[in-house]
Amino acid sequence: MRVHVVEDDAGVSDSLALILRNIGHDVVSHRDAESLFKGPVPEAGDTVIVDLSLPGIPGAQLVRWLLNLAAPPRVVVITGQSQGFIDHQLRGLMPDGVMRKPLDVDAIARVLPHA
């Protein structure tokens, strides 16, 4: 399965890509929402992992855009922010998963369909 990772932190993005490939996924890394928009639109069978705190277009706005696609991919939010911030950002949005940092491989495996 193809997994898009939209995360501006180089360390998190790199390690996430490593573990996802390790699990057996195809990984496409983007450092912000803008760079994801430049490529092909994620498809229904894909998963997009979105960091809530992105430079430029906010993570929540990207989540909204993805969920409103005609054939939305699976959307998983990752964040290191407080619950209050998450609730405020995601009000009205129902992503397929929300994972709080620090992440571990089991939590990731749980929210992703098996490769």
């Binding site: 360390g11 998190v12 390690s15 573990i19 430079p55 430029g56 940092k101 491989v105």
Partner: protein, 391 residues
């Protein structure tokens, strides 16, 4: 020249040393001298003590009977004593006043050897027996103690405000720590998984471990930066370039910020160094930048401009936001402690920042903006007189 034991007739002396019963006016003067809360010493041209009042007896632990007739060096620490004769001689020869008519802080020495600060004012009287000098002395220790207490309290408060700032930034800092911890965890788990599945990872494991170590180091730096900021230290002064201090403080403030702010940074050219307590100055910067970020948050394109420039004998730091400006009704209380309009924090930030600036011989000024302009805070610090360490 008169004998030591017989003081000149022009001024009375303590009753126990007086060779004859005092006259009414002498008795009155003696009683005034002994009632005075300040120490009073009268000396002649040769610096011999003629009068040593009760307050002096207490201050120096020497009785008037012992003191009268001796050189006034008796109550001075050695380094002063050595020069005192020269001072008196120089004044008598040249008439140039170094202390007469002017108050000055000097050091006294108690009979037990304790050296303590004194405020000394000296007057001069021409008498038939020659010139006499009248010294009025005030023990400065109680004042010094209360000044010290005040300084201690202020430094406690400055520290408290710093701890409070970090406390308010706690969630953001936790987020910032989460990044390297996440990366570290995933790198290690990637190795673990590969290993347990018997995958050959020999070629990549070194690289992954290096990255993992890098992330652990990054987490360590965050802790270190925070610790430097909150740890309690005595105030200090170092001649430093302002810009690197500002950049560090901006980094600290931006820890875990949600990225929705544009920072324009303009560093001045050839700025003179400033003599500062580096952490206290960073405390001001953190406070101003946090306020600016908060003020700009509602703007369509939130941005702050942080710039430094030299301006006659001082270095200025300007922090300008593009928020709505400061409401006129908030302005009078802006720098007052506990008067904050914010929900969070103690409302100490600006009050403490201005106090720190003023303790550095500088100031913190505000242009409130409004009508489409954001607020601009200016920290003014005097340029350091010399480029060396100043204590």
């Amino acid at each position: 020249m008169k004998d030591f034991a017989s003081p000149p007739a022009s001024l009375p002396t303590s009753p126990e040393t007086a060779p004859h019963p005092p006259t009414v006016s002498e008795a009155r003067l003696l009683s005034v001298l002994d009632t005075a809360a300040d120490g009073i010493i009268v000396i002649d041209e040769h610096a011999r003590i003629l009068i040593f009042n009760k307050a002096c007896e207490r201050m120096f632990g020497i009785s008037a009977a012992e003191a009268v007739g001796q050189n006034v060096k008796l109550v001075m620490p050695t380094e002063y004593a050595r020069q005192h004769d020269a001072y008196v001689g120089s004044y008598i020869r040249t008439g140039v006043k170094k202390i007469i008519g002017i108050g000055r802080e000097v050091q006294g020495r108690h009979a037990d050897g304790t050296v303590f600060p004194l405020e000394l004012s000296v007057g001069e009287a021409a008498t038939p027996d020659g010139r006499q000098f009248i010294g009025i002395l005030r023990d400065l220790r109680p004042r010094k103690e209360s000044e010290q207490r005040l300084a201690d309290l202020q430094s406690e408060l400055v520290h408290l405000a710093r701890v409070s700032a970090i406390d308010e930034m706690g969630a953001a800092i936790a987020h910032e720590l989460n990044q390297p911890l996440t990366a570290l965890m995933l790198y290690l788990q990637a190795i673990r998984r590969a290993h347990s599945r018997g995958v050959d990872i020999v070629t990549v494991v070194g690289d992954i471990l290096d990255k993992a170590a890098g992330e652990a180091e990054r987490a360590g730096h965050i802790i270190q930066r925070m610790r430097q900021f909150v740890e309690k230290r005595d105030p200090e002064r170092h001649a430093r370039a302002l810009d690197p201090l500002i950049d560090e403080a901006i980094d600290l403030t931006l820890l875990g910020q949600r990225h929705r702010i544009r920072i324009e940074r303009e560093a001045g050219q050839n700025l003179p160094p400033v003599s500062v307590d580096p952490v206290q100055v960073q405390q001001i910067v953190v406070n101003l930048v946090r306020n600016a970020i908060e003020a700009a948050a509602g703007a369509p394109d939130p941005a702050i401009r942080i710039r430094t420039l030299a301006s006659d004998g001082s270095v200025r730091l300007e922090v300008q936001d593009n928020g709505p400006g400061i409401a006129p009704e908030a302005l009078p209380k802006l720098f007052e402690a506990f008067a904050s309009s914010k929900r969070r924090g103690m409302g100490l930030g600006l009050a403490i920042s201005r106090t720190i600036a003023q303790n550095h011989g500088g100031d913190l000024l505000v242009d409130p903006g409004g009508n489409g302009r954001g607020a601009c805070f200016t920290l003014v610090l005097p340029a350091a007189p010399v480029p060396d360490e100043v204590g």
